[in-house]
């Protein structure tokens, strides 16, 4: 009975304006070139289009403002969960460091892939009913815009906060500003340097916005992914050489499983380890903050390449870099989802086997509903 009423309610609420808006958004989305780098105004517009085109999957939220007053915007990907059980959260952010252009490119790619496959990929559709994936394509908006200004600004890393009183140098390394052993190692207190950690933990609005927003959802958050370049690394907490996460072994094995999947795509090696092992010690990173407040899985992805082009990754590398990163991210998301929901699905995101018991349940239920209600589709 309920399904009849629900169906009727939904049908009457779909008006022509919404349909037109959806069509417009879809067209825009299809014309968007995911294999090119986009300036910030195009990314803001793309976020509007993608939300408009997929109202049942995507909503947006502004959860903070940059130093220069710009919106920090995320897209929330998730499907209606009519069972009413509490949805778990996956967090993904890109572009904490302004010059790492492949990272925002990947966040956009990720959203596009989900949009294009969730209706046909049963596993993905199921996960989106249990999870909300929060994607921030660009956190350091001011810095990103600055890197587009001219040839001499392209390699800027930090935010664009004003110099402190005794200095002429702008910006804070946002990935050293989080409340996680702030200021202890792998940082500079010189505002002219690229690892300047700011005047205090969380002093920067961009970092504080993430901590405030994710802080309200910490109990539901399964996984925190922060996307950077370059180096082809999967970093696990902590950045401090003498502190280990309690689930270190599991973090390593899940990371290594992701790296194995990534290598299958284009043969690229991604090294897995803590930052002090495979890169350098550091403190105040968003990854460390997430693990410290209790989010069990927290990773920094360092995408392509290993030094040939570095941060100036050519546009014809965007697609392969994003294809492998997508597989890696999804591997981790699938793992944490399956762990949290302990469901009977044996299907992976890539494969759909009719033989699985879970799938048989779906189909037999659909048939049963058809037979009992006579509801015509």
């Amino acid at each position: 009975m309920k399904s009849w009423l629900l169906g009727l309610f939904l049908l009457t609420n779909t008006d022509l304006y919404t349909t037109h808006s959806v069509v417009e958004g879809l067209e825009s989305m299809q014309n968007y070139d995911y294999t090119k780098y986009h300036p910030m105004d195009e990314i803001y517009r793309w976020m509007e289009d993608v939300e408009r085109a997929n109202p049942e999957l995507i909503s947006s939220a502004v959860y903070g403002y940059t130093y220069e007053g710009r919106n920090i915007t995320l897209l929330k990907l998730g499907l209606n969960d009519t069972a009413g059980s509490e949805k778990k959260v996956i967090w993904m952010d890109c572009g904490i460091h302004a010059r790492e252009w492949i990272a925002p490119a990947f966040c956009q790619w990720f959203v596009k892939e989900i949009v294009n496959s969730y209706k046909t990929n049963k596993k993905l559709g199921q996960m989106l009913q249990n999870l909300d994936i929060y994607v921030t394509p660009v956190i350091n908006v001011d810095g990103y815009i600055f890197t587009w200004a001219n040839n001499s600004t392209r390699l800027w890393r930090k935010s664009r906060s004003l110099p402190p009183p005794d200095s002429t140098c702008y910006g804070v390394d946002l990935n050293r500003n989080f409340k996680a052993n702030w200021g202890t190692i792998g940082v500079s207190f010189d505002s002219c340097e690229n690892t300047y950690c700011g005047k205090s933990a969380g002093s920067e609005p961009e970092a504080q916005a993430v901590m405030d927003f994710v802080g309200t959802m910490v109990n539901q958050t399964l996984c925190f992914l922060t996307i950077h370049s370059a180096g082809q690394l999967i970093l696990l907490p902590y950045g401090h050489p003498e502190i280990s996460a309690p689930n270190y072994n599991e973090l390593v094995s899940v990371g290594q499983a992701a790296a194995v999947e990534m290598k299958k795509v284009h043969g690229m090696n991604y090294t897995v380890g803590t930052s002090p092992q495979i890169l350098y010690p550091n403190s105040g990173s968003s990854r460390d903050w997430a693990r410290l407040i209790g989010i069990p899985f927290s990773y920094t992805f360092e995408l392509r390449d290993k030094g040939e082009f570095g941060h100036l990754l050519p546009e014809d590398h965007i697609q392969p870099a994003c294809e492998e990163a997508y597989v890696g991210a999804l591997s981790i998301i699938t793992y944490v989802h399956d762990k949290a929901f302990k469901n009977g699905a044996v299907t992976t995101v890539k494969h759909f086997t009719l033989a699985s018991g879970f799938t048989m349940t779906i189909w037999s239920t659909i048939v049963a509903v058809f037979v009992t209600t006579g509801f015509m589709v």
């Binding site: 600004t153 390699l155 002429t168 309690p246 941060h311 929901f341 239920t365």
Partner: protein, 291 residues
């Protein structure tokens, strides 16, 4: 619309079925009571403490003995070998990248420094071939920053001959009516005009001399960009170039600006004649008008 509701209902019924996946025994016990801003003491962290005691990566205690090839000490030493090979054998048609570190060993040489022995694979970028090398890198520990010393032997490094191509390019550049000049290689989008690629390669080889000279156990240098490269008048059969290069040090995350004067000929390879580090001019970057 209706089918969607049915599928949702069906999915829900499936989800509440019995699980077939094994439940992993590890609990993610986390100490959320610790104030996020403190350095958590080992005793406060509940449950399993996995202190990774294999290497203390504190900055003044570097690993010795057998090294984990994926960890940064071996990786940084191997990168130095890449720069060395580029200075010795690099040309517009031969460039090296570090492919893999297979094994590494480090030992202190009294107080004078530390010596690394490495088995690595290097990737010759232009022919897209990979080959193994054995190398030794010695980092001197002195008051003054001194360059590392490298010895390397690679099985078939020069197997693919580039002499003919180099000679042709050399003649072409020598005969230029107008002297070549290029900026921003690669540009902001990672793009390089096809006829500027070889100039970019020359800039990389020349920059490798600086990267080699400046390397230590606390750096990891890569090319960031050739900001400007300009051909000068040929002198004594050597092509000459002025170059403004940007280097990236992964460890400090800084971009270092250097100016170079270098010569090239197929016979002599690249030779750096002058090099000078430029100050990092912070206040030169005026923020654009915000809109």
């Amino acid at each position: 619309m209706g089918l969607r509701i049915i599928v949702v209902l069906a999915v829900l019924m499936g989800v509440t079925g019995s699980p077939t996946t094994t439940v992993r025994p590890e609990t993610t016990s986390v100490d959320t009571a610790a104030h996020p801003n403190s350095i958590p003491e080992m005793a406060e962290e509940t449950g399993q403490n996995e202190v990774f005691s294999e290497e203390e990566a504190a900055e003044d205690v570097m690993a010795t003995g057998e090294l984990n090839p994926n960890h940064y000490p071996a990786q940084r030493a191997a990168k130095v070998v890449q720069h060395y090979l580029t200075t010795r054998y690099g040309s517009p048609y031969r460039l090296f990248g570090l492919h893999r570190v297979h094994s590494g060993n480090a030992e202190d040489v009294g107080d004078s420094g530390r010596k690394y022995q490495l088995e690595i694979s290097v990737h010759e970028i232009i022919s897209n071939t990979t080959q193994k090398c054995s190398a030794e890198v010695f980092f001197p520990h002195g008051q003054k920053q001194e360059s590392p010393q490298v010895q390397a032997s690679c099985e078939e490094l020069l197997n693919i001959s580039t002499k003919a191509q180099e000679e042709a390019l050399y003649q072409q550049y020598k005969m230029n009516q107008t002297l070549l000049s290029a900026q921003n290689l690669p540009d902001s989008h990672g793009h390089i005009e096809p006829d500027m690629k070889l100039l970019w390669h020359l800039g990389i080889v020349a920059s490798s001399f600086i990267m080699l000279k400046e390397s230590s156990e606390n750096t990891l240098y890569n090319m960031a960009q050739v900001a400007n490269i300009t051909q000068l008048e040929t002198e004594k059969e050597q092509l000459k170039f002025n170059c403004h290069t940007l280097l990236h040090d992964m460890v400090s995350q800084e971009i270092l600006h250097w100016k170079l004067l270098f010569a090239w000929s197929p016979a002599e390879g690249v030779k750096v004649l002058q090099m000078e580090q430029l100050p990092h001019c912070q206040h030169c970057e005026k923020p654009p008008n915000t809109n």
